[in-house]
Assembly symmetry: C2
Homo-oligomer: 222 residues x 2
């Protein structure tokens, strides 16, 4: 009496598991799936996953590296400013497309090969265009911190489209909650609530300021 579900053999692999986990996390809007749900989607029992990953953290490492593999990185010859702009945009898009990724990256020290390749390419691009070793380190640290931090702010916003902003901020402003915070109120009324405002625009403003500053130090930085 050989029951047919006996052999699910060969259905699993590191890559397939990671891909399924990423899909499910994307669908569920930011929550990493549980081992059981993930196993179910793969047509397998929960414990089967542990033959491909030491523990769940290893799976999460794989998921983070999967995201990094989607980020475009510059070739060495490309003009550095536009290269940095492109990779910033690409990184931002990837982190927004996979909103669970940012939350995983803290406390995750084990960089995968996609992550390393990406970092290497960025630094290579900077080095090939006059940045000193130290300068490239400074630039990378600064750019990465900014991009990462900005996306986190962006993801934490409680609204999706600029239209939603008014719906969210309006009541707050009217409530007494805003009393005692005059500058916040001013900023909201005269800036953030103006038609046409989108927080996303702030990304390019800050990035351009940083790139201009980097240009200024490019060849001289120690």
């Amino acid at each position: 009496m050989t029951t047919e579900p006996a052999s699910a053999r060969g259905t699993l692999s590191r890559e397939k598991v990671v891909r399924a986990a990423v899909e499910m996390a994307d669908e569920s809007g930011g929550k990493v799936p549980s081992t059981r749900k993930l196993a179910e989607r793969l047509g397998v029992q929960a414990m089967a996953l542990y033959h491909h990953f030491r523990n769940k953290d290893a799976l999460l490492d794989g998921m983070v590296d999967f995201v990094f593999a989607e980020i475009e990185f510059p070739a060495e010859g490309v003009e550095w400013k536009s290269a940095m702009r492109d990779r910033a945009q690409s990184m931002r898009e990837a982190l927004i497309r996979h909103p669970w990724a940012t939350g995983l990256m803290d406390s995750r020290a084990n960089a995968g090969v996609a992550t390393l390749r990406h970092h290497d390419a960025v630094i290579g691009c900077l080095r090939s265009q006059g940045f000193t070793v130290a300068g490239a380190a400074h630039a990378f640290s600064l750019l990465d911190a900014y991009i990462y931090g900005f996306v986190l702010q962006e993801l934490a916003l409680p609204f999706e489209s600029p239209g939603d902003l008014e719906a969210v901020a309006g009541p707050i402003l009217e409530q007494a909650a805003m009393e005692g915070f005059p500058h916040l109120a001013e900023l909201a009324v005269e800036h953030a609530l103006k038609p046409g405002y989108a927080y996303a625009d702030e990304f390019w403003i800050g990035l351009d300021l940083i790139l201009d500053g980097l240009e200024r130090h490019r060849t001289t930085w120690t």
Copy 2:
């Protein structure tokens, strides 16, 4: 036979719970305590917490606001550049002192009063020194993203002191893992592994670049 633990009445309060939760999170090195552990420390049963917080998320909101209450914010008169430097340092210290806080801030849209007061003071300082409304918004977004992002990178590092760096990076470099990443290797050998290097220094380099850029746009930014 009135058993004495019958009345733990009056032992709890929103503030006391938050304070204990923060303490426990700090002690455990970054993990938010479970409701049961937290209750135990407070000499109370787990469900007692739910009379003071709608759910655990509300507790986490309180913890985040507690951290913001520790961050120094500038008075309006103070010279803006040094004020921003001070608040950046203070924010960075607080986030490092409570390493669990960064992880909580994403997906946490409900700002508490300490958070609002802090933001208001920063924007007020900028506004009082020639920044336009839009300029203050740009500056705030940029500075906050950078500080936040930098601290996240810093906390993700797998070592604590500069001395540990060599111990961690050395083996990695020697291993074949580094093959194929020449620029990363160069950066490590010629910069990050040099004696006297500390990643923390990068914070001020990036911050000064940003502040210089802000100075340049201060009065003219739209």
